[in-house]
Protein backbone atom coordinates (compact mmCIF):
# COMPACT_ATOMS: atom_id res chain seq x y z
CA UNK A 1 0.00 0.00 0.00
CA UNK A 2 2.85 2.37 -0.68
CA UNK A 3 1.17 3.98 -3.65
CA UNK A 4 1.83 7.72 -3.68
CA UNK A 5 -1.07 10.06 -3.14
CA UNK A 6 -1.70 13.78 -2.77
CA UNK A 7 -2.88 15.46 0.45
CA UNK A 8 -6.12 16.20 -1.33
CA UNK A 9 -6.63 12.56 -2.20
CA UNK A 10 -5.93 11.60 1.38
CA UNK A 11 -8.51 14.15 2.53
CA UNK A 12 -11.19 12.85 0.22
CA UNK A 13 -10.50 9.24 1.12
CA UNK A 14 -10.45 9.93 4.87
CA UNK A 15 -13.73 11.80 4.48
CA UNK A 16 -15.28 8.95 2.51
CA UNK A 17 -14.40 6.49 5.24
CA UNK A 18 -16.54 8.40 7.72
CA UNK A 19 -19.76 7.37 5.93
CA UNK A 20 -21.69 4.16 6.50
CA UNK A 21 -24.03 2.30 4.14
CA UNK A 22 -27.01 3.15 6.37
CA UNK A 23 -26.36 6.90 6.32
CA UNK A 24 -28.69 9.35 4.65
CA UNK A 25 -26.33 12.11 3.64
CA UNK A 26 -27.00 15.67 2.50
CA UNK A 27 -24.09 16.38 0.17
CA UNK A 28 -22.38 19.71 -0.36
CA UNK A 29 -20.66 20.38 -3.68
CA UNK A 30 -16.92 20.03 -4.20
CA UNK A 31 -14.88 18.03 -1.71
CA UNK A 32 -17.92 16.60 0.12
CA UNK A 33 -19.41 15.39 -3.17
CA UNK A 34 -16.23 13.55 -4.14
CA UNK A 35 -15.98 11.95 -0.70
CA UNK A 36 -19.60 10.86 -0.60
CA UNK A 37 -19.50 9.27 -4.01
CA UNK A 38 -16.20 7.58 -3.24
CA UNK A 39 -17.86 6.05 -0.15
CA UNK A 40 -20.77 4.88 -2.29
CA UNK A 41 -18.42 3.27 -4.82
CA UNK A 42 -16.29 1.53 -2.19
CA UNK A 43 -17.30 0.45 1.31
CA UNK A 44 -20.76 2.07 1.62
CA UNK A 45 -22.77 1.04 -1.45
CA UNK A 46 -26.07 1.55 0.38
CA UNK A 47 -25.43 5.13 1.42
CA UNK A 48 -28.23 7.51 0.40
CA UNK A 49 -26.92 10.70 -1.18
CA UNK A 50 -29.17 13.73 -1.31
CA UNK A 51 -28.33 17.03 -3.02
CA UNK A 52 -30.17 20.23 -2.23
CA UNK A 53 -31.34 20.47 -5.83
CA UNK A 54 -33.97 17.91 -4.83
CA UNK A 55 -32.31 14.70 -6.02
CA UNK A 56 -32.84 11.85 -3.54
CA UNK A 57 -30.73 8.68 -3.50
CA UNK A 58 -28.70 9.73 -6.50
CA UNK A 59 -25.85 7.66 -7.93
CA UNK A 60 -23.91 9.87 -10.33
CA UNK A 61 -21.40 8.21 -12.61
CA UNK A 62 -19.43 11.46 -12.85
CA UNK A 63 -19.15 14.09 -10.15
CA UNK A 64 -21.48 17.02 -10.72
CA UNK A 65 -19.88 20.40 -11.40
CA UNK A 66 -22.97 22.04 -9.95
CA UNK A 67 -25.36 20.82 -7.32
CA UNK A 68 -28.06 20.40 -9.96
CA UNK A 69 -26.40 18.66 -12.91
CA UNK A 70 -28.70 16.43 -14.98
CA UNK A 71 -26.60 13.42 -13.99
CA UNK A 72 -27.89 13.76 -10.41
CA UNK A 73 -31.53 13.70 -11.49
CA UNK A 74 -31.13 10.92 -14.06
CA UNK A 75 -29.57 8.56 -11.52
CA UNK A 76 -31.80 9.47 -8.54
CA UNK A 77 -34.58 7.43 -6.98
CA UNK A 78 -36.72 10.55 -7.33
CA UNK A 79 -36.39 14.32 -7.53
CA UNK A 80 -38.48 16.70 -5.44
CA UNK A 81 -38.87 20.48 -5.52
CA UNK A 82 -36.43 22.64 -3.60
CA UNK A 83 -39.06 23.86 -1.09
CA UNK A 84 -39.98 20.25 -0.40
CA UNK A 85 -36.32 19.33 -0.03
CA UNK A 86 -35.77 21.96 2.63
CA UNK A 87 -39.13 21.45 4.39
CA UNK A 88 -39.87 17.72 4.38
CA UNK A 89 -36.41 16.24 4.05
CA UNK A 90 -33.90 18.53 5.72
CA UNK A 91 -36.10 20.24 8.32
CA UNK A 92 -38.13 17.03 8.55
CA UNK A 93 -35.19 15.44 10.32
CA UNK A 94 -34.68 12.73 7.71
CA UNK A 95 -30.95 13.37 7.18
CA UNK A 96 -28.41 11.59 9.37
CA UNK A 97 -25.27 13.32 8.04
CA UNK A 98 -24.80 16.78 6.56
CA UNK A 99 -21.50 16.87 4.68
CA UNK A 100 -20.28 20.38 3.99
CA UNK A 101 -17.22 22.45 3.18
CA UNK A 102 -16.52 26.11 3.84
CA UNK A 103 -14.17 29.02 3.26
CA UNK A 104 -13.20 29.68 6.90
CA UNK A 105 -13.61 27.69 10.09
CA UNK A 106 -12.85 28.28 13.76
CA UNK A 107 -11.89 25.95 16.59
CA UNK A 108 -15.52 25.16 17.38
CA UNK A 109 -16.24 24.32 13.75
CA UNK A 110 -18.35 27.39 13.09
CA UNK A 111 -18.06 28.25 9.40
CA UNK A 112 -17.91 31.42 7.35
CA UNK A 113 -18.76 31.39 3.66
CA UNK A 114 -20.31 34.85 3.58
CA UNK A 115 -17.81 37.67 3.80
CA UNK A 116 -14.28 38.70 4.79
CA UNK A 117 -14.19 42.14 6.39
CA UNK A 118 -17.24 44.14 7.31
CA UNK A 119 -20.50 42.76 5.97
CA UNK A 120 -21.57 46.11 4.57
CA UNK A 121 -18.12 47.02 3.21
CA UNK A 122 -16.66 43.65 2.35
CA UNK A 123 -13.00 43.04 1.69
CA UNK A 124 -13.95 39.81 -0.05
CA UNK A 125 -17.51 38.87 -0.81
CA UNK A 126 -17.87 35.09 -0.59
CA UNK A 127 -20.83 33.17 -2.10
CA UNK A 128 -23.00 33.09 1.02
CA UNK A 129 -24.65 30.39 3.06
CA UNK A 130 -26.80 28.52 0.57
CA UNK A 131 -28.10 25.48 2.37
CA UNK A 132 -25.48 25.48 5.13
CA UNK A 133 -27.19 27.48 7.94
CA UNK A 134 -30.05 24.97 8.13
CA UNK A 135 -28.00 21.90 7.23
CA UNK A 136 -25.87 22.72 10.28
CA UNK A 137 -28.76 22.37 12.74
CA UNK A 138 -31.25 20.04 11.08
CA UNK A 139 -29.01 17.06 10.26
CA UNK A 140 -28.25 14.40 12.87
CA UNK A 141 -24.55 15.22 12.71
CA UNK A 142 -22.22 17.23 10.53
CA UNK A 143 -19.04 16.19 8.76
CA UNK A 144 -16.89 18.99 7.41
CA UNK A 145 -14.08 18.64 4.92
CA UNK A 146 -11.67 21.52 4.18
CA UNK A 147 -8.01 21.84 3.29
CA UNK A 148 -5.98 23.49 6.07
CA UNK A 149 -4.29 26.88 5.82
CA UNK A 150 -4.01 29.99 7.95
CA UNK A 151 -6.54 31.92 5.89
CA UNK A 152 -9.05 29.11 6.24
CA UNK A 153 -8.49 27.96 9.83
CA UNK A 154 -8.85 31.25 11.67
CA UNK A 155 -8.80 32.28 15.29
CA UNK A 156 -11.88 34.42 14.94
CA UNK A 157 -14.48 34.35 12.17
CA UNK A 158 -15.59 37.68 10.73
CA UNK A 159 -19.05 36.18 10.17
CA UNK A 160 -20.79 32.99 11.31
CA UNK A 161 -22.59 31.59 8.29
CA UNK A 162 -23.38 28.24 9.86
CA UNK A 163 -23.09 27.24 13.48
CA UNK A 164 -20.77 24.49 14.60
CA UNK A 165 -20.69 24.27 18.37
CA UNK A 166 -21.09 28.04 18.70
CA UNK A 167 -18.60 30.87 19.37
CA UNK A 168 -17.49 29.37 22.71
CA UNK A 169 -18.48 25.77 22.09
CA UNK A 170 -21.61 25.77 24.24
CA UNK A 171 -24.12 27.81 22.22
CA UNK A 172 -25.56 24.89 20.29
CA UNK A 173 -26.87 23.27 23.43
CA UNK A 174 -27.85 26.61 24.96
CA UNK A 175 -30.01 27.37 21.95
CA UNK A 176 -31.83 24.09 22.37
CA UNK A 177 -30.52 22.48 19.20
CA UNK A 178 -30.75 18.75 19.69
CA UNK A 179 -28.66 17.56 16.75
CA UNK A 180 -24.99 16.79 17.38
CA UNK A 181 -23.35 19.34 15.10
CA UNK A 182 -19.84 18.83 13.73
CA UNK A 183 -18.53 15.47 14.86
CA UNK A 184 -15.75 15.18 12.27
CA UNK A 185 -13.56 17.67 10.47
CA UNK A 186 -11.51 16.00 7.78
CA UNK A 187 -8.61 18.02 6.37
CA UNK A 188 -5.75 17.37 4.00
CA UNK A 189 -3.42 16.91 6.98
CA UNK A 190 -5.45 15.32 9.74
CA UNK A 191 -8.86 14.46 11.16
CA UNK A 192 -10.35 16.42 14.06
CA UNK A 193 -13.20 15.61 16.43
CA UNK A 194 -14.81 17.74 19.14
CA UNK A 195 -13.32 17.40 22.61
CA UNK A 196 -15.84 15.67 24.87
CA UNK A 197 -15.64 18.41 27.49
CA UNK A 198 -15.19 21.63 25.49
CA UNK A 199 -16.32 20.81 21.95
CA UNK A 200 -13.07 22.28 20.64
CA UNK A 201 -12.06 20.48 17.46
CA UNK A 202 -9.09 18.32 18.37
CA UNK A 203 -6.73 16.34 16.16
CA UNK A 204 -7.43 12.63 16.57
CA UNK A 205 -5.71 11.25 13.51
CA UNK A 206 -2.74 12.49 11.48
CA UNK A 207 -2.33 11.58 7.83
CA UNK A 208 0.79 9.56 6.90
CA UNK A 209 3.92 11.69 6.58
CA UNK A 210 2.37 14.79 8.15
CA UNK A 211 4.02 16.38 11.19
CA UNK A 212 2.34 18.09 14.12
CA UNK A 213 4.34 21.18 13.23
CA UNK A 214 2.90 21.25 9.72
CA UNK A 215 -0.62 21.04 11.14
CA UNK A 216 0.03 23.91 13.56
CA UNK A 217 1.62 26.01 10.82
CA UNK A 218 -1.54 25.73 8.80
CA UNK A 219 -3.88 26.65 11.63
CA UNK A 220 -4.68 30.13 12.95
CA UNK A 221 -5.14 29.08 16.54
CA UNK A 222 -3.08 26.92 18.92
CA UNK A 223 -4.39 23.57 17.80
CA UNK A 224 -5.00 20.78 20.29
CA UNK A 225 -4.02 17.18 19.83
CA UNK A 226 -5.89 14.34 21.44
CA UNK A 227 -4.04 12.23 24.00
CA UNK A 228 -4.62 9.29 21.70
CA UNK A 229 -3.69 10.52 18.26
CA UNK A 230 -3.38 7.77 15.69
CA UNK A 231 -2.03 7.72 12.16
CA UNK A 232 -4.66 7.80 9.45
CA UNK A 233 -4.38 4.59 7.44
CA UNK A 234 -2.91 5.41 4.04
CA UNK A 235 -5.22 5.18 1.05
CA UNK A 236 -5.60 1.67 -0.27
CA UNK A 237 -4.92 0.98 -3.90
CA UNK A 238 -8.62 0.43 -4.45
CA UNK A 239 -9.59 3.71 -2.83
CA UNK A 240 -7.09 5.57 -4.99
CA UNK A 241 -8.11 3.74 -8.14
CA UNK A 242 -11.82 4.39 -7.66
CA UNK A 243 -11.24 8.03 -6.73
CA UNK A 244 -8.96 8.67 -9.70
CA UNK A 245 -11.34 6.87 -12.03
CA UNK A 246 -14.29 9.00 -11.07
CA UNK A 247 -12.21 12.17 -11.22
CA UNK A 248 -10.93 11.26 -14.66
CA UNK A 249 -14.48 10.47 -15.87
CA UNK A 250 -15.57 13.79 -14.40
CA UNK A 251 -12.77 15.75 -16.07
CA UNK A 252 -13.64 14.31 -19.46
CA UNK A 253 -17.38 14.91 -19.00
CA UNK A 254 -17.04 18.54 -17.96
CA UNK A 255 -14.61 19.41 -20.72
CA UNK A 256 -16.99 18.06 -23.37
Amino acid sequence: MSASFTPNEMMTIAAARALKSTDVCFVGIGAPSAACNLARLTHAPGVTLIYESGTIATKPNVLPLSIGDGELCETALTTVSVPEMFRYWLQGGRITIGFIGGAQIDRFANINTTVVGDYHKPKVRLPGGGGAPEIATNCGEIFITMAMGKRAFVDRLPFITSMGHGPTGVERQKLGVRSQGPTKLITDLCVLEPDAATNEMTVVSIHPGVTREAIQENCGWPIRFSAHVVETPAPTEEELRVLRDIQERTRRAHAA
Binding site: I29, G30, E52, S53, G54, T55, P64, L65, S66, I67, G68, D69, G70, L72, C73, E74, T79, S81, V82, P83, M85, F86, R87, L90, Q91, T114, Y119, H120, P122, R125, P127, G128, G129, G130, G131, A132, P133, E134, A136, T137, N138, F159, I160, T161, S162, M163, G166, E171, R172, L175, V177, A253, H254, A255, A256
Partner: protein
Protein backbone atom coordinates in the same frame (compact mmCIF):
# COMPACT_ATOMS: atom_id res chain seq x y z
CA UNK B 1 -54.91 32.57 -19.83
CA UNK B 2 -51.39 32.42 -21.25
CA UNK B 3 -50.70 34.49 -24.34
CA UNK B 4 -48.12 33.12 -26.76
CA UNK B 5 -45.78 35.97 -27.67
CA UNK B 6 -42.32 36.45 -29.09
CA UNK B 7 -39.76 36.75 -26.30
CA UNK B 8 -39.19 40.34 -27.38
CA UNK B 9 -42.86 41.19 -26.97
CA UNK B 10 -43.27 39.24 -23.74
CA UNK B 11 -40.45 41.21 -22.12
CA UNK B 12 -41.51 44.50 -23.70
CA UNK B 13 -45.04 44.10 -22.41
CA UNK B 14 -44.53 42.56 -18.99
CA UNK B 15 -41.13 43.63 -17.61
CA UNK B 16 -40.91 47.26 -16.52
CA UNK B 17 -38.14 49.43 -15.12
CA UNK B 18 -38.11 49.19 -11.33
CA UNK B 19 -39.93 45.85 -11.20
CA UNK B 20 -39.15 43.13 -8.72
CA UNK B 21 -38.29 40.07 -10.78
CA UNK B 22 -37.62 36.48 -9.79
CA UNK B 23 -35.93 34.30 -12.40
CA UNK B 24 -35.64 30.75 -11.11
CA UNK B 25 -34.23 27.44 -12.23
CA UNK B 26 -31.99 25.51 -9.84
CA UNK B 27 -29.03 24.74 -12.18
CA UNK B 28 -31.63 23.26 -14.55
CA UNK B 29 -33.85 25.31 -16.89
CA UNK B 30 -32.33 28.73 -16.10
CA UNK B 31 -34.05 31.30 -18.32
CA UNK B 32 -30.90 32.73 -19.98
CA UNK B 33 -32.68 33.81 -23.16
CA UNK B 34 -35.11 35.90 -21.13
CA UNK B 35 -32.21 37.44 -19.21
CA UNK B 36 -30.51 38.42 -22.47
CA UNK B 37 -33.72 39.95 -23.77
CA UNK B 38 -34.07 42.06 -20.62
CA UNK B 39 -30.49 43.24 -21.12
CA UNK B 40 -31.17 44.11 -24.78
CA UNK B 41 -34.26 46.06 -23.80
CA UNK B 42 -32.14 47.96 -21.25
CA UNK B 43 -34.37 47.49 -18.23
CA UNK B 44 -33.10 49.45 -15.23
CA UNK B 45 -33.45 49.58 -11.44
CA UNK B 46 -34.73 46.03 -11.20
CA UNK B 47 -34.79 44.16 -7.92
CA UNK B 48 -33.54 40.73 -8.92
CA UNK B 49 -34.52 37.74 -6.78
CA UNK B 50 -32.90 34.35 -7.22
CA UNK B 51 -31.62 31.67 -4.85
CA UNK B 52 -28.44 31.14 -6.87
CA UNK B 53 -27.59 34.29 -8.83
CA UNK B 54 -25.03 32.63 -11.03
CA UNK B 55 -24.16 33.58 -14.61
CA UNK B 56 -27.58 34.90 -15.57
CA UNK B 57 -27.58 37.60 -12.89
CA UNK B 58 -23.83 38.15 -13.29
CA UNK B 59 -24.68 39.20 -16.84
CA UNK B 60 -27.72 41.30 -15.98
CA UNK B 61 -26.02 43.03 -13.05
CA UNK B 62 -22.85 43.61 -15.04
CA UNK B 63 -24.95 45.29 -17.72
CA UNK B 64 -26.58 47.63 -15.20
CA UNK B 65 -30.12 46.24 -15.06
CA UNK B 66 -30.37 45.94 -11.27
CA UNK B 67 -30.28 48.10 -8.18
CA UNK B 68 -30.87 45.29 -5.69
CA UNK B 69 -30.16 41.59 -5.44
CA UNK B 70 -32.05 39.15 -3.19
CA UNK B 71 -30.24 35.82 -2.98
CA UNK B 72 -28.96 32.95 -0.88
CA UNK B 73 -25.85 31.70 -2.72
CA UNK B 74 -23.95 33.74 -5.25
CA UNK B 75 -21.24 32.05 -7.23
CA UNK B 76 -20.36 30.18 -10.39
CA UNK B 77 -21.14 26.66 -9.13
CA UNK B 78 -18.09 24.46 -8.97
CA UNK B 79 -15.98 27.15 -10.65
CA UNK B 80 -15.64 30.18 -8.40
CA UNK B 81 -16.89 33.71 -8.06
CA UNK B 82 -19.42 35.65 -10.05
CA UNK B 83 -17.02 38.47 -10.81
CA UNK B 84 -19.55 40.98 -12.10
CA UNK B 85 -21.74 40.65 -9.00
CA UNK B 86 -18.66 41.05 -6.79
CA UNK B 87 -17.57 44.09 -8.77
CA UNK B 88 -20.99 45.65 -8.25
CA UNK B 89 -21.08 44.88 -4.53
CA UNK B 90 -17.43 45.70 -3.78
CA UNK B 91 -16.83 48.57 -6.25
CA UNK B 92 -20.25 49.79 -7.37
CA UNK B 93 -19.59 48.99 -11.04
CA UNK B 94 -21.51 49.66 -13.23
CA UNK B 95 -23.74 50.90 -10.43
CA UNK B 96 -24.22 50.34 -6.72
CA UNK B 97 -26.02 47.14 -5.85
CA UNK B 98 -27.94 46.69 -2.61
CA UNK B 99 -28.20 43.14 -1.35
CA UNK B 100 -30.72 41.25 0.74
CA UNK B 101 -29.28 37.93 1.79
CA UNK B 102 -31.02 34.75 2.97
CA UNK B 103 -30.29 31.07 3.28
CA UNK B 104 -31.62 28.58 0.72
CA UNK B 105 -34.15 27.37 3.28
CA UNK B 106 -35.28 30.93 3.89
CA UNK B 107 -35.81 31.64 0.21
CA UNK B 108 -37.40 28.28 -0.56
CA UNK B 109 -39.86 28.86 2.28
CA UNK B 110 -40.51 32.42 1.11
CA UNK B 111 -41.36 31.24 -2.41
CA UNK B 112 -43.53 28.48 -0.97
CA UNK B 113 -45.40 31.03 1.14
CA UNK B 114 -45.81 33.27 -1.88
CA UNK B 115 -47.32 30.46 -3.94
CA UNK B 116 -49.62 29.64 -1.02
CA UNK B 117 -50.74 33.26 -0.71
CA UNK B 118 -49.43 33.50 2.84
CA UNK B 119 -47.74 36.70 4.05
CA UNK B 120 -44.83 34.88 5.68
CA UNK B 121 -43.22 31.52 6.31
CA UNK B 122 -42.05 30.07 9.63
CA UNK B 123 -39.26 27.50 9.69
CA UNK B 124 -36.49 26.00 11.80
CA UNK B 125 -33.64 28.10 10.59
CA UNK B 126 -30.99 30.76 11.17
CA UNK B 127 -30.11 29.34 14.57
CA UNK B 128 -26.85 30.62 15.99
CA UNK B 129 -25.78 32.46 12.84
CA UNK B 130 -25.08 36.07 11.92
CA UNK B 131 -27.35 36.60 8.93
CA UNK B 132 -30.34 37.84 10.99
CA UNK B 133 -28.05 40.57 12.36
CA UNK B 134 -27.57 42.04 8.89
CA UNK B 135 -30.99 41.22 7.37
CA UNK B 136 -33.82 42.87 9.32
CA UNK B 137 -36.42 41.01 7.27
CA UNK B 138 -35.54 37.83 9.14
CA UNK B 139 -37.73 37.80 12.25
CA UNK B 140 -39.17 35.18 14.56
CA UNK B 141 -42.51 33.98 15.83
CA UNK B 142 -43.65 31.95 18.81
CA UNK B 143 -45.58 28.72 18.24
CA UNK B 144 -49.02 29.15 19.84
CA UNK B 145 -48.94 25.51 21.00
CA UNK B 146 -45.38 24.72 22.11
CA UNK B 147 -43.90 28.15 22.79
CA UNK B 148 -40.97 27.38 20.50
CA UNK B 149 -39.35 30.20 18.54
CA UNK B 150 -39.23 29.79 14.80
CA UNK B 151 -37.51 31.99 12.24
CA UNK B 152 -39.73 33.84 9.77
CA UNK B 153 -39.25 35.39 6.35
CA UNK B 154 -41.77 37.46 4.40
CA UNK B 155 -43.33 35.73 1.41
CA UNK B 156 -41.81 36.50 -1.98
CA UNK B 157 -44.46 37.97 -4.30
CA UNK B 158 -42.54 39.36 -7.28
CA UNK B 159 -44.01 41.61 -9.94
CA UNK B 160 -42.77 39.16 -12.56
CA UNK B 161 -41.73 35.53 -12.29
CA UNK B 162 -39.69 34.17 -15.19
CA UNK B 163 -38.81 30.51 -15.77
CA UNK B 164 -37.83 28.24 -18.63
CA UNK B 165 -39.74 24.96 -19.05
CA UNK B 166 -39.61 21.94 -21.29
CA UNK B 167 -42.69 22.49 -23.43
CA UNK B 168 -46.18 23.94 -23.66
CA UNK B 169 -49.25 22.60 -25.39
CA UNK B 170 -51.47 24.67 -27.70
CA UNK B 171 -53.71 25.67 -24.78
CA UNK B 172 -50.70 27.08 -22.95
CA UNK B 173 -50.31 24.40 -20.29
CA UNK B 174 -46.63 23.98 -19.41
CA UNK B 175 -44.63 20.90 -18.39
CA UNK B 176 -41.72 20.92 -15.95
CA UNK B 177 -39.69 17.81 -15.30
CA UNK B 178 -36.44 16.83 -13.59
CA UNK B 179 -34.89 19.29 -11.16
CA UNK B 180 -37.72 21.79 -10.83
CA UNK B 181 -36.29 23.93 -8.04
CA UNK B 182 -38.72 26.69 -7.07
CA UNK B 183 -40.06 27.19 -10.57
CA UNK B 184 -43.64 26.23 -9.92
CA UNK B 185 -43.65 28.37 -6.80
CA UNK B 186 -42.24 31.45 -8.51
CA UNK B 187 -44.88 31.35 -11.24
CA UNK B 188 -47.67 30.92 -8.70
CA UNK B 189 -46.23 33.61 -6.39
CA UNK B 190 -45.76 36.25 -9.09
CA UNK B 191 -48.24 38.89 -10.19
CA UNK B 192 -47.24 38.29 -13.83
CA UNK B 193 -45.28 35.39 -15.28
CA UNK B 194 -43.28 34.70 -18.40
CA UNK B 195 -42.40 31.14 -19.33
CA UNK B 196 -39.98 30.34 -22.13
CA UNK B 197 -40.20 26.80 -23.52
CA UNK B 198 -38.21 24.51 -25.77
CA UNK B 199 -41.23 23.78 -27.96
CA UNK B 200 -44.97 24.19 -28.30
CA UNK B 201 -46.64 20.90 -29.09
CA UNK B 202 -50.04 19.33 -29.67
CA UNK B 203 -49.58 16.81 -26.88
CA UNK B 204 -47.78 17.77 -23.67
CA UNK B 205 -46.50 14.15 -23.38
CA UNK B 206 -46.79 13.90 -19.61
CA UNK B 207 -45.64 10.52 -18.36
CA UNK B 208 -47.32 10.45 -14.96
CA UNK B 209 -50.70 11.36 -13.53
CA UNK B 210 -48.69 13.56 -11.18
CA UNK B 211 -46.52 15.31 -13.75
CA UNK B 212 -45.62 18.86 -12.79
CA UNK B 213 -47.84 21.01 -14.99
CA UNK B 214 -48.58 24.72 -14.80
CA UNK B 215 -52.12 25.22 -16.18
CA UNK B 216 -52.46 27.95 -18.80
CA UNK B 217 -54.47 30.17 -16.45
CA UNK B 218 -51.46 30.53 -14.12
CA UNK B 219 -49.22 32.03 -16.82
CA UNK B 220 -49.23 35.48 -18.37
CA UNK B 221 -47.04 34.93 -21.43
CA UNK B 222 -45.33 32.01 -23.12
CA UNK B 223 -42.46 32.43 -25.56
CA UNK B 224 -41.03 29.55 -27.55
CA UNK B 225 -37.24 29.83 -27.40
CA UNK B 226 -35.51 26.55 -28.29
CA UNK B 227 -32.21 26.35 -26.47
CA UNK B 228 -33.31 29.22 -24.24
CA UNK B 229 -31.75 27.75 -21.10
CA UNK B 230 -28.20 27.48 -22.47
CA UNK B 231 -25.59 27.20 -20.87
CA UNK B 232 -27.97 25.69 -18.31
CA UNK B 233 -29.80 22.63 -19.58
CA UNK B 234 -33.20 21.22 -20.42
CA UNK B 235 -33.71 17.65 -19.28
CA UNK B 236 -34.21 15.42 -22.31
CA UNK B 237 -33.28 18.23 -24.73
CA UNK B 238 -29.67 19.24 -24.14
CA UNK B 239 -27.07 18.94 -21.42
CA UNK B 240 -25.54 21.56 -19.18
CA UNK B 241 -22.64 23.25 -20.96
CA UNK B 242 -20.22 22.88 -18.07
CA UNK B 243 -17.33 24.04 -20.25
CA UNK B 244 -19.06 27.38 -20.76
CA UNK B 245 -19.45 27.83 -17.01
CA UNK B 246 -15.72 27.22 -16.69
CA UNK B 247 -14.98 29.61 -19.57
CA UNK B 248 -17.17 32.32 -18.03
CA UNK B 249 -14.69 32.71 -15.20
CA UNK B 250 -12.16 34.20 -17.63
CA UNK B 251 -14.68 36.13 -19.74
CA UNK B 252 -16.20 37.84 -16.74
CA UNK B 253 -13.07 38.51 -14.72
CA UNK B 254 -12.34 41.85 -16.42
CA UNK B 255 -14.86 44.53 -17.33
CA UNK B 256 -13.58 44.84 -20.90
CA UNK B 257 -13.69 41.19 -21.80
CA UNK B 258 -17.13 40.97 -20.22
CA UNK B 259 -18.47 43.93 -22.22
CA UNK B 260 -16.98 42.58 -25.43
CA UNK B 261 -18.61 39.20 -24.88
CA UNK B 262 -21.97 40.80 -24.07
CA UNK B 263 -21.84 42.92 -27.22
CA UNK B 264 -21.05 39.98 -29.49
CA UNK B 265 -23.35 37.44 -27.87
CA UNK B 266 -26.23 39.43 -26.47
CA UNK B 267 -26.55 43.02 -27.71
CA UNK B 268 -25.87 42.16 -31.34
CA UNK B 269 -28.05 39.04 -31.29
CA UNK B 270 -31.67 38.12 -30.68
CA UNK B 271 -33.44 35.20 -29.05
CA UNK B 272 -32.98 33.04 -32.14
CA UNK B 273 -29.29 32.81 -31.25
CA UNK B 274 -30.18 30.16 -28.68
CA UNK B 275 -31.55 27.76 -31.30
CA UNK B 276 -28.10 26.37 -32.02
CA UNK B 277 -28.05 24.86 -28.52
CA UNK B 278 -31.46 23.25 -28.82
CA UNK B 279 -30.53 20.03 -30.53
CA UNK B 280 -32.75 17.41 -28.92
CA UNK B 281 -31.00 14.43 -27.39
CA UNK B 282 -31.88 11.02 -28.74
Amino acid sequence: MAQVLSLHDAVAEHVRDGDTIAMEGFTHLIPFAAGHEIIRQKRKRLTLIRMTPDLIYDQMIGMGCAEKLVFSWGGNPGVGSTHRIRDAIENGWPNALAIEEHSHAGMANAYEAGAANLPFAAFRGYIGVDLPKVNPRIKSITCPYTGEFLATVPAIRPDVGIVHALRADRDGNVLLEGITGCQKEVVLAAKRSIVTVEEIVDDLRTTSYNSIVLPHWTITAIACVPGGAHPSYAQGYYKRDNSFYIAWDKISRERDSFLAWMKDNVLDKDASAFAVHAKKQA
